[in-house]
Structures are given as C-alpha cells and as structure tokens.
Amino acid sequence: MNSSDLDFSRNVFINCPFDPEYIPLLRPLLFTVLFLNYNPRIASERFDSGEARINKICELIKCSRYSIHDISRIRSKKRGEYYRLNMPFELGIDLGCRLGEGILQSKTCLILEKDKYDYQKAISDLSNSDIKSHNNDPETLVFQVRNWFAELGMENAPSATRIWKRFNEFMADFREAREKDGFKDRDLEFMPAPEYINFIKQWIAVSAGQTR
C-alpha cells in the first residue's frame, strides 16, 4: 500500500452546506471526524478562483474512501426559492465513483438527513438505503457519525458522549486562544473551515498526551 492509498483510507469527503446556518452542525462534524483520526476533505479547503469547483470536488471524491453527505438542507424554505441541488449532485458523483476500478470500489458513505424518511420525498432512488437522521441536533450528529465509523469496523472508538464532551472543551479552548490573539465573536463565527480544521488538529495533538 503506498502513501496515497493510506491517505485514501483515512480521507472523508464532507458534502454539506457551508453557510452560517449550518455552522452549528459543521463544527462538531469536523471535530468528530478528526477526533476519530480521519481526515476531512472539503471543497473549501483551498480557494483558487482559477480552479473549476466541480473539478476540485471530483478530485476530493476520488481521493476519499469515505464520504459524509448531509442532504438536510436541500429543501427551499420559501416561495420562489430554488431547491438546493449541490448536495444531491455531489452525492450522485460519489455513488457513481464506486463503479470505477480498484480502490474506488471500496468507497463507502454515510447519508444524513434531518428527519427520517424525509429524503424519500425528494430522492426516491435512495429508498431502502440506510440513511441516518440528526434532527438538526449537533450531539445527535456526533452520535451518528461516531456509530457509522464503529459499524464499519473501527476498533476502540471513543463513545459519542466522550467525543461530545471533548468537543465542548475544545470550543472553550478555541475561544480562549483566539480571543488572546485578538479575534472577536464575528471572526470566530465566520472562520474559514481550513483554519478551523488546523486549530482542531493542533488541539488534538496537544490533547493526545493528556486525557484524550
């Protein structure tokens, strides 16, 4: 197995909205993936105006054995608002990628929805698929993601309760450290995901020698 295969087996493509409303779910999602020693790959991890977004997404999907697709935000909220198609579109690319050769056939994914069976109204092709619901609750999302990795055979996975507790402690350290660096609430709320991911990685590295 070469190093890119190793990366492939730890990479988790995250397909979710990146708007402010989703941040309360995105933060614990990224934390849980990193805490379980996997590597989240997201479309916003590098910003290059000259790079076609779809190319970047296809590349991330191809280099990730695992994917987490949150399709809880695809529904329009008011009259005249468009249905959000990016998430189901990227889910389709990911499922299609499994038809490729070699390691691509080992790809596996978790699909998250707000309420159980909601997705069937919009994507009936996914009927009979095992889709998990998080009810827009961050702790439930941690529970679902952790249990998914455990069901895939991850050994000695910490409990969801422990991950949730450590996430809360991380949030305190995150705020304290950033405030010392002059960050205000607004800076913290809209911090770019790659910067946030790096902070989690540093925090986990420091915690590893303590009581992770």
Binding site: P28, R162, E169, D173, K180, A205, V206, Q210
Partner: protein
C-alpha cells in the same frame, strides 16, 4: 497552543455546563463522568457554581457546544 498547554493545571479545574440528550450536564474538565445532570439549564448553572465554589471558571455552553457565558473564577479574573 503552547500557551494553552502551560495552563493545563488551571484549565483542568474548569466546570462546564454541557447540553446532553438527558438534560444539562455539569462536568469538571478532565473527569470522564458528569458530576450531575439537571433537567433545566438554570439549575445546572447553579450546580456548576456550587461545584466550583468560585475557585474555577464556570463555562456555560449553548446546545451547539459554543460558549454562551464564561464566568471567571477569583483566581482567573
């Protein structure tokens, strides 16, 4: 992060009020189990203050884990 690790001993005394499925947990940092779980958040905050006795920070979290309020202890004003 280096600054953070230097303050580990003070940090470990923090008391958190954390949202859980079964209510609001009062939890000392570093402990694996919650000291107590309350039905109401206000009661949990009061429980955290009693546990800290003013000697450690009380950190009240929102349901999403972010910080709602940070009550500094006498030793960490």
């Amino acid at each position: 992060m280096a600054k953070r690790s230097a303050s580990v001993s003070a940090k470990s005394q923090r008391v958190h009020v954390i949202s859980r499925k079964d209510g609001w947990a009062v939890q000392k940092e570093g402990n694996t189990k919650a000291s107590k779980v309350f039905d109401r958040k206000e009661a949990a905050v009061e429980g955290a203050r009693k546990l800290s006795k003013g000697h450690s920070d009380v950190i009240v979290h929102k349901k999403d884990g972010s910080i709602q309020r940070w009550e500094r202890s006498e030793s960490n004003p």
